[in-house]
């Protein structure tokens, strides 16, 4: 793009080339030992070095091209740049109004469309890996959005409550034979209780400190799950957790099963579709409750807390209980999602509840635009769907040879994407705030005015 209009916008090629060359040299320096010299163990367990200088050259060239592209993008003509930051036009308001309705409809039709297009076997992967997987993260994102986006409390240990929910269902169902429908509310209550227990001492901390303490609590819960083998099964986790039933009708090939009862031919896709609608309903419940609470005093108090805690106290708002409700409610939805996770997998282990999960959920919330429900949903689709798509890169083996495993680049790309997206949109995809009440006309509040919370 820059090549075509280098004359009219005065793109400084000499400068850009110099910059790109500089970046390439730095890259070469950075990658010199770590990329060009690979350590391997030989047969006698001694370290040997394999030299691969071509990697270094490839990296330097990639950075050179990338830097040049970024520079030319930054120097694109003023007209296109102005258009992208112009105030909301009528058409974009129209889109904003209808996107949730269309999105919702698409979600409800998704399993039906995919099944009829690809048939039972082909659809399974899409509904399970994409549909259900993304919906779990949308729900978790919405849950964490209450804590981080609305109340402005930075929580890096959110996955702990997800784990509480998952283990609650896993243990209650395997030990006491309780059904999913009984365990679901119990898991939510348990997670909320943990939210209050952990929240109470830490909520007077601010910002990054709160983030680190919640991270510590998250890790403590995980370490306890690993080491308290009698309780949680340790690393092995809990397996053969009872599968989901259709309100009592199991999904299998036997008499009295779901397919048998409804006179259908048995197919594993039934369970997956049911799971999809189940998580969709749970996520929509989360969304509904959040949207309603935003228009109630407690929701407004959360947002006020994010804006200015001291002012809140001067108006007689009990900030501790306000923070605790946000923390407990967020935890409760994570608990619901956790027990859904357990019933879907049929197996839970501490490995599923690492810090990386918390970071992913937080990234979804921040990238979505703090406080924006639709933004969080879009961010979850982009981040989770995007990383899932990377699984589909088996064909790259044709190019790079059989030793090439695209799957191992997933986390690498995920991490880099987090950095790039933050630099591209530090305030997230939807950066404006919708007022919770209005007198004459609802006007979005620009993200520059909205505070991000202090603790």
């Amino acid at each position: 793009m820059a090549t075509t209009n280098k004359n009219d916008d005065g793109f400084n090629w000499a400068f850009a080339l110099k910059e790109a060359a500089f970046a390439a040299i730095i890259t070469a320096g950075l990658s010199f030992p770590i990329l060009a010299l690979r350590t391997d163990m030989d047969i006698s367990n001694k370290l040997i070095l394999n030299q691969r200088w071509s990697w270094l050259i490839v990296a330097a060239v990639l950075v050179f091209v990338g830097r040049l592209a970024v520079l030319s993008y930054a120097a694109r003509p003023k007209s296109t740049r102005a258009a992208s930051t112009a105030p909301q036009s009528d058409s974009s308001k129209f889109i904003a109004k209808w996107i949730s309705a269309v999105g919702l409809l698409a979600l409800f039709l998704f399993p039906i469309v995919v099944t009829s297009a690809l048939g039972g076997q082909g659809a399974l992967k899409w509904i399970n890996n994409y549909g259900v997987q993304i919906m779990i993260y949308i729900m978790l994102g919405w849950g964490l959005n209450i804590v981080v986006g609305l109340a402005g409390l930075l929580d890096l240990g959110y996955v702990a409550f997800y784990a509480v929910g998952a283990y609650a269902y896993a243990l209650l169902s395997t030990h006491y034979g309780l059904s999913f429908w009984i365990c679901l509310p119990l898991a939510g209550i348990l997670a909320a209780t943990w939210g209050v227990i952990l929240g109470f001492p830490v909520l007077r901390l601010r910002g990054d400190y709160l983030a680190i303490v919640t991270l510590a609590f998250g890790e403590i819960i995980r370490i306890v799950l690993i080491n308290w083998v009698d309780f949680s099964g340790g690393y092995a986790g809990v397996s053969s957790i009872p599968r989901i039933t259709f309100f009592g009708l199991p999904f299998n090939d036997n008499v009295g099963s779901f397919s048998n009862f409804f006179g259908l031919t048995y197919s594993p896709i039934h369970r997956t579709i049911f799971l999809f609608y189940l998580i969709l309903c749970l996520a929509l419940l989360t969304n509904y409750v959040t949207m309603r609470l935003r228009r109630l005093p407690v929701g407004r108090a959360w947002e006020a807390l994010r804006e200015d805690e001291i002012a809140c106290r001067s108006l007689g708002i009990n900030t501790t209980s306000t923070k605790l409700t946000a923390f407990a409610l967020g935890a409760m939805f994570a608990g619901f999602a956790g027990s859904f996770f357990a019933v879907r997998q049929g197996f839970v282990s501490p490995e599923s509840f690492t810090f990386l999960e918390s970071a992913t959920i937080l990234a979804i919330v921040v990238l979505g635009g703090m406080g924006s429900q639709i933004g969080v949903a879009i961010a979850a689709v982009v981040l989770i769907g995007g990383t899932e798509l990377l699984r589909e890169l088996e064909w790259t083996k044709q190019i790079f040879g059989q030793d090439f495993d695209p799957a191992q680049y997933r986390s690498l790309i995920f991490g880099a994407a987090m950095v790039i997206m933050m630099i591209w949109k530090p305030r997230g995809i939807v950066s404006t705030r919708e007022p919770s009440i209005f007198l004459k006309e609802k006007k979005s509040v620009s993200g520059d005015l909205v505070a991000e919370g202090h603790g």
């Binding site: 809140c312 708002i317 705030r433 009440i437 007198l439």
Partner: protein
């Protein structure tokens, strides 16, 4: 000391220490019911510290702050309450609160003391209307059944919210911001933000309104508007006002009672005209005794 016949708040022997620094030293004064009481003094005299003690943001090192929401608190009742160790006492003539024992949000909620801040603390990213609705948090919280009924859509929350909106509207009309109700508070001009912060504090239905330099940064016209607003608050509401101010036109124009602080101690206490002619006050402001460290009255905020 000016004798206040019907005190709302009685401050006795208030002392606040920060480590070795004594910010307020053995200060006693009264705030009369229905009065506008001004707290003045050179920069660093400890005025804002007194405010923070009254509103509970600081816990005083020593002293008693007794507030009688209505009626006249008998000395015996206050003494009994002090003895009992409780935060407040219900009286037929009106409840008595010991502010030094209460956390900040309870002072605002129960004792009905509202305040503004030297550096304006509005909820900038929320609209003007939202700011005023949040000020009515506690009654609305009850109306929403502590959110539980509200989420389910049961109960009369809608009607209560409508009332809250009406109250907000009446305040917006008084401060001339009704047309900007749906704009973010952070976009208002400075003077309007000051007025909005006062209206927000008034939406909590306070018996005592504490204003920390409400005229700071206002132009002369806005200052006059502020005077009118404060007088009308006193006239229309059962709200007493305690204010910190450097702008002498505001202080002398509207206050009934002036307390002068210097280095954390009280140096004068009386009507505006008494205080104006007090040699100690003149010395503190003009720096006759130790002029090197004193700034003139119209200094920056501290």
């Amino acid at each position: 000391m000016l004798s206040v016949s019907n005190p709302l708040l009685v401050v006795e022997h208030l002392t606040m220490r920060f480590g070795g620094l004594i910010a307020v030293n053995d200060l006693s004064f009264s705030v009369g019911r229905g009065d506008i009481t001004a707290l003045i003094g050179p920069n660093g005299a400890g005025k804002t510290t007194v405010f923070n003690c009254v509103t509970g943001f600081y816990k005083p090192t020593e002293g008693r702050l007794a507030l009688a929401r209505s009626g006249i608190a008998a000395a015996q009742d206050v003494a009994d309450l002090t003895q009992s160790g409780a935060q407040h006492k219900q009286m037929p003539s009106g409840d008595i609160y010991l502010l030094e024992r209460m956390p900040d949000f309870r002072i605002a909620h129960k004792a009905k003391v509202a305040r503004t801040f030297q550096n304006i603390r509005l909820f900038q990213g929320m609209t003007v209307l939202e700011n005023l609705i949040i000020a009515q948090h506690n009654p609305l919280m009850v109306a929403s059944g502590f959110s539980i009924l509200g989420v389910l859509g049961i109960g009369g929350y809608k009607a209560s919210e409508q009332q809250a909106v009406e109250k907000a509207k009446s305040w917006l009309e008084r401060i001339g911001l009704i047309d900007r109700a749906d704009d973010p508070a952070g976009e208002l001009p400075y003077g309007a933000q000051r007025r909005l912060e006062i209206a927000r504090a008034m939406c909590t239905d306070p018996v005592l309104l504490c204003l920390d330099e409400p005229a700071a940064g206002l132009n002369p016209k806005e200052s006059l508007e502020l005077n009118t607003l404060l007088r009308s608050i006193r006239a229309d509401h059962s709200t007493s006002v305690l204010l910190i101010e450097h702008d002498m036109s505001v202080v002398m124009g509207i206050s009934d009672h002036v307390v002068v602080l210097d280095y954390g101690t009280k140096i004068a206490d009386g009507t505006p005209s008494e205080v104006r002619n007090d040699p100690k006050v003149i010395a503190a402001y003009l720096g006759v005794d130790d002029g090197d460290e004193m700034n003139p009255a119209h200094g920056g905020a501290k």
